[in-house]
Each structure stands twice: as structure tokens, then as C-alpha cells.
């Protein structure tokens, strides 16, 4: 049996290679995702370990898991001296740092890339090592990490400017540093200043972020922690440095987790889509080998042996393909790293990490999908009766019950739809992630629809092919060939269906968001201009910007908004603070109960949606939890409505100042004085903003464009997914057509004998591919519209979202799919037209 298996593989190598492509892609994305993550993990854990290596214990504000990323929650520096006095402490020194902007030759050095960070130079537990020059010793001196300095062309002795909270400060570069063995900080720009300089930059006199503690030899970190803890105030904790480094690493990995998720989704979709094609290929191969299999049965092979033979073939194919996939995945991880570096990021230089786990997961994924897909074909192979070996003409396969198919397909589609709906509306059981339920629901719908599609292939395919009737027999035969094997057509078009469904969903979601954004901004934009940060990664607006802009004669009024995380009755929320009186003037926000403009410092205003959600009413007592000050009693002082996904909870600037030490703004809304033109106003504001690189001034249209730009990026991402599935679908069509041409050799010979030209034959094959592709994409668009409608309807339950169907873009994706069909048909059409007529019709 082993020999038969092997011969079967060799005999169908092209076909199996095409099939294997889907597995290669799928396992490639899975492996790439793991390789990339493991590489980051390895590189950054080394980096963070080095960063904390000098200290034994870190004292810091107690980190609430949900609020851990909040910046600027500082402690009283007096704690430093108290800690030093403890027996067993060799040294203790406070750290102080934050985001800032580095200006070299009048230009912001950070741009859109990773953040720029600055901190006070410490001698206790110092992670920095001087590579050149000396440490900063007085105000106006800065050391900078060597890899950033090299990138920016900075050397010791040069002048730069630094902006943290206030005005830009002139500085001289006095040294270049590295972190342990690395010259860089994973792409971030890192700087250090003398302590009092850092205090003034961050406006944090007498405050520290954390305290590095070094133990006397012989005192373990655990012992030290137990001695320090009693003197610590509330909301401050001591942890050992290893824990701190691991926490930072986790935070970092979470931030890059989207790449991982994205790749895994790609991998999963590839394998899922591929499974249809694998199943199809095995089915066809087995149909072609009916006689051979019957012969094996006739000479005594058991059904189990036949099943084993087919599954062994599948296993060998998947093994080879999965290994190729791992190689592709390593390439992919390289490519991502390169892309990262192209966009200004830099990852620590360490080789790519390929763990045995990566190999195991990729192989297991490939094997599982292939075997599962080959199982049904293997079973049907085992049902071939030995007598089939003797028959000249094979009896057509027994018609399976259409009703059974309809019932199973409808059940799958229905249960998938139900899962989708519950996932979207959040009515999932506690222990299930809504995203998983939505994903499983969508996958079940795809399978259900794929089970149902053979029932509609004939009428729908013929309708698509109807215009081709004008081409005469070429069109008629192409159409009939496309629909002659409904199961095969449905399996072939499934990948295209899934791809266009996802693209359709993304297009509808994107168009709906865009339409909503337009409507909202028109509605909401009471101010003339908005100032917002242009970078990413914690870049925020210095409060100095709003202060300086407010005194410009061209500005009538402005309101600056700050945003941060806190907890409302134990649940994490984002809250905003602003001058509420100005806020109600410049931003569309209407009080329903109470008056938002006159909130007291112990009162919060909440949106009507949130009130409904949390069952809160005006006057209710609530507990707000802040990272710095812990639980604080508040009262609901106002309930407001706001169009669209804006803020859901606001506090006064006074309440903010009492509970956060951070002072950055996230946006400034500006109304220009009467009689001043928009451009004149913008020019005046620019005199301020140009001193603060990283701040940009937007008018209504630009703001909308910016918002929509993000939406478009999301749509672009999903389109990449469409491209991938189209690629798999492309090979699926290619594969099916090649098989069909072999099966139809005699038919093609007959057509040629009675006068069909090569060109006509090529056209026939091409149109068949187009019909299959268009069939799949139309089905996909219909599903995509359904998914889009479901998603938007679900969102509409919580917030305003306009449903918008982008007809042009959807039409375009059908055309793209049709073109993919045309390209996929090129080779099979060529093969068909070159077929030897005589060989095709000859007997004996």
C-alpha cells in the first residue's frame, strides 16, 4: 500500500503542489507570527532585564493592572531619604522621566516613529552606560542614546532643544549612552538629564516616578521588600526588579500584539480558505483514480487501507507544505522587521528566534487542516466498489439527498448567524471572548453557505453566463462547464467568496464610519480649528501650547481637553477634563439633566448612554479610582448627550489636578475672533505651534480627512486579506481548471475536430473561470453586506452609526475577482488549446 500511496503522490505532483500552496501560506503566517513574537520577546526581555539590572528593588506607585499605562503618577521625593535610612539598603535614588520632543536643527526628531523619552540621570541602579563624553552634571546638559545620535548625526558638544511640559529648552549634548550591550532602545530616542533639570522639564519639583533601591550584599530582594513595605504610604509598593522588568516586557508585547493577532488571523483565514481547495483537489484526484482504487479493492485492499492510503498522501503533502510554510514564515518575520525599520522603528539586533514550539504549531495546524479536509474524500474513496474496475463507463455518482444538504447547510448558516449576532451584541457567556464567538460564527456561516451553494450554482451560474450566450457555443459551453459540477464549483469559489465577504464587510464598515464621521464633524464642529498631536506613542500637547494660544488676539476662545484612564465603580473608563464652561461652548455636548458647565470638583458628568448602561441617575454617589490617589467619592452632577463616539465621562480641571499629576492636553478646540479669517487665524496659531513640533493645526475638513485616513488604513489592512484569499482562490481556480481539462480531453478533442479554433477554446476556458470567480465574489459580496449590516446594526444599539453601502467599491471587488479568474485561466486555456486533437479522440 505504501508504494501505491507514493505513486499517487508522484502522479499528481502539480495538482498537489497547487493545493499545498494554501497550506504553505497558512502555516507561513502562523509560523511568521510566532517567530516575530518570539524574536521580540527575546530581544526585549534582554533589553528590559538590562534596564533593571542595576537595582534589586523598585519602589513605585502601586500599579493597578487596568491603569498601569497611565503616565506621570508620581511620588513625593522625600521617600528617598526614608528608604535610605532602612537597614540593608546600600543606595536609593529616585527616577523621573516622561515623553518629550527632541529638536535638532529646528526639526522634531521623533516624527511618526517610536517615542522620545527623557529621564533624570541616576547613579543608583543606573541602566545607562556611557559610550562617549560624560554624564550630565548641570542644567542645559543632556546625554542621548548612541544609536539615535548616530541616526540624527549628533555628536558630543552639539546643541539641541528639548520640549517637555513648557517652552523649548536649549541643551548641549555632553555624552552618548547605551543600554547594556545595546546602543539603542529598540528604536526609541532616549535622553537623560541632571536631576534638577529633569524636575524643571517635567514640572515635577520634589517628585519622583519610582525609586531604585540597591541592597547591601547578603540581603535578598524579598527581605528588603519586607523591610521597606511598612514605611510606604498608601498606593505605593516595593517590587523586585525582575518583576518590574517582566511587567514592562508584557506591556510592550501587548502594544505590539496587534501584529501577532493580525498574522494569526491571516494564517487562520488562509488555512480555512485552503481547506475548501484541499478537499476539492482530493475529491477530484480520487474521482480520476476511481479505476485504480477499484482495482486495488478488487485485488484485496480493505476499505481501511484505502482510507489510510489517501490520508497518508494528505499527511505527506501537508508535512512538506508546512515545512515550506515555516521557511516562508521566517522570511515573513524578516520582512516585518525590515518594514518596521523602514518606518523608523528599530528592533534590537538579535537573530530571529525559531522555537521548537513554532515548528510544532505550524506542522500541527497544517496537518490538522489537511487531514480534516481529506477525510471526506478518503471516505468516499473507500466506498468505490471493486466492480468499478471492470466498468467501461462509470456510473455517475449517486445523487445525494438535496434535502439533507439544504437542512445541514441551513442549520450551519443559522447557528453561525446566531453566534455572530450574540457575539456582536455582547450577549455571550461570561467565559467566551466576543471576538472568538464572532469569528466562529462567521466561519460557521461560511461553511454553511459553502454547503448550500451547490444548490444554487446552476441557476446563479447560468444567470451570470446569460450575457455570454451572444458569443455562441463558446459562451454556452463555458457557462455549462462552469455549472456542470456544482460541488466542485462551490468549493472552488469558496475562497473567493470568503475573501470578498471580508473585503465587503470592511468596505461597508469603512464607508459607514466615514459617512458617520462626516456627519458628526459637521454637527459637532463648533470651533474653527483643532490642535492635536501629530505623532503617536504618547506624544501629547504641552499645556504651554494652549496657554500661549489663548493670549493671541486672533483667538476668541479655546478649550483644551485632557484624557486619561480611571475607574468608575471598579470598571475602567476613559475620562476627559476641561474647562467645562468653555467645553459646552466649543464642543457639541448638551446637558440632559443637571448642568455640565457648572459641575463641582467632586462631581462627574456622564453621557446618557453610560447612565443607561450602568443604571446611574443624577445625584448618585459613585467611586472613582485613580492610579495616583486611589478611591475617591464623586457624585453624578450632570447627564449629557453627545453625538457619536465622543467622551462618556467628564470631570472638572480641578478634579483632574487633584488626582493626576500629568498635565498634557490631548486636543485644543479654538474659536477664532470675529473678523479674523480662517487662514489668518491659522497663521497666528502656527507662530505658537511651530515652537512645539509634534502639534498640528487642523480645520474641519482636515480633521475629517485625518479621521477617515485611519479608517482607510483599516480597510487597507482587510484588503490585504482579500488579496491573500484571492491568491489562494486564484490557485484553486487554476487547479480545478487543469483537472477539468484533463477530464474533458475527449470533449475538447471533439470540439477541435468539428472546427473550434484554439482561440475559441481559450475563450471557453477563460469565460468558465470568470463565471466561477464572479459567482464566488457575488456570493461573497452578498455575505459581506449581510455581515456589514449585522455589525452596524449591533453597533447602532450603543451608538450612532450610519449604514452606508459603497456600491462602486463593491462592484470593483467583483471586477477584481473576475480579473483574477481571467489570469488564473491563462495557463489552463493554453494547455487546452495545445491539446493534441488526435490523442484526444483516438481510441486504443
Amino acid at each position: 500500500m505504501w508504494k501505491a500511496t507514493w505513486k499517487g503522490l508522484i502522479g499528481h505532483k502539480l495538482r498537489l503542489a497547487l493545493t499545498a500552496l494554501a497550506i504553505v501560506l497558512g502555516t507561513g503566517f502562523v509560523a511568521g507570527s510566532y517567530v516575530f513574537t518570539d524574536t521580540l520577546d527575546g530581544a526585549f526581555s534582554a533589553l528590559f532585564q538590562e534596564a533593571f539590572a542595576g537595582s534589586d528593588v523598585i519602589i513605585r506607585p502601586s500599579v493597578d493592572e487596568d491603569l498601569s499605562f497611565v503616565l506621570g503618577d508620581r511620588m513625593d521625593a522625600a521617600l528617598e531619604n526614608e528608604v535610605r535610612a532602612i537597614d540593608g539598603v546600600a543606595g536609593a535614588e529616585g527616577t523621573l522621566g516622561g515623553f518629550l520632543v527632541l529638536i535638532v536643527d529646528g526639526e522634531s526628531a521623533g516624527g511618526q516613529g517610536p517615542p522620545t523619552l527623557g529621564s533624570a540621570w541616576v547613579d543608583t541602579g543606573n541602566p545607562l552606560e556611557l559610550r562617549d563624553g560624560r554624564k550630565p552634571e548641570s542644567a542645559g546638559e543632556v546625554v542621548i542614546d548612541k544609536s539615535s545620535a548616530d541616526r540624527l548625526g549628533l555628536t558630543v558638544g552639539e546643541q539641541v532643544q528639548v520640549i517637555a511640559v513648557g517652552e523649548p529648552v536649549d541643551m548641549e549634548v555632553v555624552g552618548l549612552v547605551g543600554l547594556g550591550s545595546s546602543d539603542g532602545f529598540g528604536g526609541a530616542t532616549a535622553m537623560a538629564f541632571e536631576r534638577s533639570q529633569a524636575e524643571s522639564l517635567f514640572e515635577a519639583e520634589g517628585q519622583v516616578d519610582a525609586i531604585n533601591v540597591v541592597a547591601v550584599a547578603g540581603v535578598t530582594p524579598a527581605e528588603l521588600i519586607s523591610r521597606i513595605t511598612p514605611i510606604l504610604p498608601d498606593n505605593v509598593e516595593a517590587v523586585d526588579s525582575r518583576t518590574a522588568s517582566e511587567e514592562q516586557l508584557t506591556g510592550f508585547k501587548d502594544a505590539l500584539g496587534f501584529i501577532n493577532t493580525f498574522l494569526l488571523v491571516f494564517g487562520f483565514v488562509s488555512l480555512f480558505v485552503g481547506s475548501f481547495i484541499i478537499q476539492n483537489t482530493f475529491r477530484v484526484i480520487i474521482a480520476q483514480r476511481t479505476k485504480e482504487l477499484a482495482m486495488l479493492r478488487a485485488v484485496g485492499a480493505t476499505r481501511a487501507q484505502i482510507i489510510r492510503m489517501v490520508l497518508t498522501e494528505a499527511a505527506i503533502v501537508s508535512l512538506i507544505a508546512s515545512l515550506a510554510g515555516v521557511v516562508a514564515g521566517i522570511g515573513l518575520a524578516y520582512a516585518i522587521k525590515a518594514i518596521f525599520e523602514f518606518f523608523g522603528g528599530s528592533l534590537p539586533d538579535s537573530g530571529l528566534v525559531v522555537l521548537p514550539r513554532t515548528l510544532a504549531v505550524a506542522l500541527a495546524a497544517g496537518l490538522t487542516v489537511t487531514l480534516a479536509s481529506a477525510l471526506l474524500p478518503a471516505l468516499s474513496a473507500s466506498r468505490i466498489p471493486p466492480v468499478a474496475a471492470m466498468r467501461e463507463v462509470l456510473s455517475p455518482a449517486k445523487k445525494k439527498s438535496l434535502r439533507l444538504r439544504a437542512v445541514i447547510g441551513s442549520l450551519l448558516t443559522g447557528s453561525g448567524g446566531a453566534a455572530l449576532w450574540f457575539g456582536l451584541t455582547g450577549e455571550t457567556p461570561e467565559n467566551l471572548a466576543p471576538a472568538a464567538v464572532v469569528g466562529a460564527g462567521a466561519a460557521t456561516i461560511f461553511v454553511g453557505v459553502a454547503v448550500l451553494t451547490p444548490l444554487i450554482v446552476r441557476p446563479v451560474g447560468r444567470a451570470i453566463g446569460a450575457p455570454l450566450k451572444r458569443l455562441g457555443p463558446v459562451g454556452t459551453i463555458a457557462t455549462e462547464n462552469a455549472v456542470r459540477s456544482p460541488r466542485r464549483t462551490s468549493a472552488t469559489s469558496a475562497s473567493i467568496m470568503i475573501g470578498t465577504a471580508l473585503a465587503g464587510l470592511a468596505l461597508i464598515f469603512g464607508a459607514s464610519l466615514s459617512a458617520t464621521t462626516d456627519a458628526l464633524i459637521k454637527d459637532q464642529f463648533r470651533s474653527d480649528l483643532i490642535v492635536q498631536p501629530s505623532g503617536f506613542g504618547g506624544s501629547q500637547l504641552s499645556p504651554e501650547i494652549a496657554r500661549q494660544m489663548s493670549i493671541l488676539p486672533e483667538v476668541e476662545s479655546l478649550v483644551s481637553i485632557r484624557q486619561n484612564a480611571a475607574k468608575l465603580n471598579g470598571e475602567r473608563i476613559f475620562l476627559d477634563s476641561a474647562n467645562l464652561e468653555m467645553l459646552t461652548e466649543l464642543v457639541q455636548i448638551e446637558s440632559v439633566q443637571g448642568d455640565i458647565a457648572s459641575l463641582a470638583d467632586n462631581e462627574v458628568g456622564i453621557s446618557a448612554d453610560l447612565a443607561k448602561d450602568k443604571n446611574l441617575t443624577l445625584g448618585d454617589e459613585v467611586t472613582m479610582t485613580f492610579a495616583r490617589t486611589g478611591d475617591q467619592p464623586f457624585r453624578i452632577g450632570a447627564i449629557f448627550t453627545q453625538e457619536g463616539p465622543g467622551t462618556s465621562i467628564v470631570i472638572t480641571d480641578g478634579a483632574w489636578d487633584a488626582n493626576f499629576s500629568e498635565r498634557f492636553d490631548t486636543a485644543i478646540f479654538i474659536k477664532i475672533a470675529p473678523g479674523v479669517g480662517l487662514e489668518e487665524g491659522r497663521a497666528a496659531l502656527t507662530t505658537v505651534s511651530e515652537k512645539f513640533p509634534g502639534a498640528e493645526i487642523l480645520d474641519q475638513n482636515q480633521f475629517a480627512a485625518e479621521a477617515k485616513n485611519q479608517i482607510n488604513q483599516f480597510v487597507g489592512l482587510v484588503f490585504a486579506l482579500l488579496g491573500l484569499t484571492l491568491l489562494i482562490g486564484f490557485f484553486g481556480i487554476l487547479n480545478t481548471l487543469l483537472l477539468a481539462i484533463i477530464e474533458r480531453t475527449r470533449e475538447i478533442g471533439l470540439l477541435r475536430a468539428v472546427g473550434t479554433t484554439r482561440r475559441q477554446l481559450s475563450a471557453m476556458v477563460t469565460w468558465e473561470a470568470v463565471i466561477v470567480a464572479v459567482f464566488g465574489s457575488l456570493l461573497g459580496i452578498a455575505l459581506g453586506i449581510f455581515f456589514g449590516w449585522a455589525l452596524i446594526t449591533a453597533i447602532q444599539q450603543d451608538s450612532e452609526l450610519l449604514l452606508s453601502i459603497p456600491v462602486l467599491a463593491l462592484t470593483l471587488s467583483v471586477i477584481v475577482a473576475a480579473l483574477a479568474g481571467v489570469v488564473a485561466a491563462v495557463y489552463p486555456a493554453w494547455r487546452a488549446s495545445r491539446l493534441n486533437v488526435l490523442a484526444a479522440i483516438a481510441y486504443e
Binding site: E747, V754, G755, L838, Y843, E844
Partner: protein, 243 residues
């Protein structure tokens, strides 16, 4: 014979080369096929009869010598011109797999015309259908027709485009004797009533009995010929050849 022949081969040879040796499937064959006549090519397996048919029909090329349909030397034609010639001037009936399964009977019959973008001559299609008794089967797919009916559709297809010549390769080979006899009668009538030229390859003496003339091939040579053959006479000749 004053009119030129419908087809002829002049010193035609066909050599197949394999790694080991070469096989002369046709060896210097010269033969004429008259218009409006029904000719049977006979011979044992491997005698070259199918090769002769394929070369005459423009499906295969000769290694040396010439093959003509009417006055047209097929050796000078490109694949495209050969295709167009087959389309206009040649009809085919094969032993099996004669029809396109995705087209109905009517579409199969008009296939060569449709491919060429032509329409049947008025009245001719109806006449052919009537002669072959297919009027009530036109909308059926091949899978819904009996073997005899399928071959009649193939005959109708060959006749409808009014080709100069019809080549039939064991047309009754896959049919039971009753359907076979019926089909051969139709071919006979096509020659007698419609003045169609037919060349048929067969190894069946009974089938050859429907022809005006039988030629016998052996080892790539024409070895004998009978005018107005009867099955008995054909059988005698075959026995003679085998000795």
C-alpha cells in the same frame, strides 16, 4: 469518373518513431475517394486504417506524400486553416463520445455551424432531423438519449453543415446490432438521397456491407478492394488476408 474525387491520398506514408524502432502505419498509400459514394476502409487492428482516416480528415499529418480534400492539399495548411477546413468541409462521426454533454441535441447538431457563426440552410436542418427521426429529442441532453439516438445526433451534426465529406470511425461500434443496423441505414440514405460522401473505418463485415466499396488495409498497404461488397464477400476476403 469525370468529376474530381472528394478526397485522395498520393504516396502517403506515416511513420511513428519510438525509441526502439520505427513503425510504418501507412506505407506509400495512393487512393481516391469518389463523391457521393460510401466507402468502407477495412483491416485488422494495427493495419493503419484509422491512421489513414485521421490523415484524410486533417486530424493528423502524413510523414511523406500528399493528402487532398477536393483540390486542397492539406500539407500546406496551418493549424488554423486546417481547423477552418474541418469546420466547413468535413464532418465527423466517432465510435464513442460523439457529443458535448453540456449541450442539448439541437445545440450539438448545430455546433459546427454555430462555432463558425453560420446558420443552417433553410429547410435543410428540418429535413435532416426528419430523416433521422430526432424531432422530438432536440431539447434532450446526451445523457437523456439512448446510444442509438446519440449516434443519430452525431450523424445529424455531420450532415447539417453539408460538408464535402463525412468521416466515420466505427460509428456502430458501441451500438447493439439493431441500433447499429438502423444507423448504417441512415448513412446509406444520406449517400443515396442527400448525395453525401462518406468514408467509414470499420472492422465489421456487416457494416461494410452497407458501403458502395470496401478497401482493405494490412501493414500500412492497401491490399485489396471490393465494389458493392456484401458481408459474405467481405468475410471471405478477410479470411483470405489472414492466411
Amino acid at each position: 469518373m469525370s468529376t474530381p474525387p472528394a478526397a485522395r491520398a498520393v504516396n502517403a506514408s506515416k511513420i511513428y518513431r519510438t525509441q526502439a524502432d520505427e513503425v510504418r502505419a501507412l506505407d506509400d498509400v495512393t487512393v481516391d475517394f469518389a463523391r457521393s459514394r460510401f466507402t468502407a476502409i477495412m483491416g485488422p487492428s494495427g493495419s493503419g486504417k484509422s491512421t489513414l482516416l485521421h490523415c484524410l480528415a486533417g486530424l493528423d499529418t502524413v510523414s511523406s506524400g500528399q493528402v487532398f480534400i477536393g483540390e486542397q492539399d492539406l500539407g500546406t495548411l496551418s493549424d488554423r486553416d486546417l481547423t477552418l477546413l474541418r469546420r466547413k468541409r468535413v464532418g465527423f462521426i466517432f465510435q464513442a463520445f460523439n457529443l458535448i454533454p453540456t449541450l442539448n441535441a439541437s445545440e450539438n447538431i448545430t455546433l459546427p455551424l454555430d462555432i463558425a457563426g453560420n446558420t443552417p440552410e433553410p429547410g435543410w436542418f428540418e429535413r435532416v432531423i426528419e430523416v433521422l427521426g430526432l424531432a422530438d429529442r432536440l431539447s434532450h441532453r446526451p445523457s437523456e438519449l439512448s446510444g442509438g439516438q446519440q449516434q443519430r445526433v452525431a450523424v445529424a451534426r455531420a450532415l447539417t453543415s453539408r460538408p464535402d465529406i463525412i468521416f466515420a470511425d466505427e460509428p456502430s461500434g458501441n451500438l447493439d446490432s439493431k441500433s447499429g443496423a438502423q444507423l448504417l441505414s441512415f448513412l446509406r440514405r444520406a449517400v443515396d438521397e442527400l448525395e453525401q460522401t462518406i468514408i467509414m473505418v470499420t472492422h465489421d463485415p456487416i457494416a461494410a456491407g452497407y458501403a458502395d466499396r470496401a478497401i482493405f488495409l494490412n501493414d500500412g498497404h492497401i491490399v485489396d478492394e471490393l465494389q458493392s461488397p456484401t458481408p459474405e464477400a467481405v468475410l471471405d476476403r478477410i479470411k483470405l488476408l489472414e492466411v
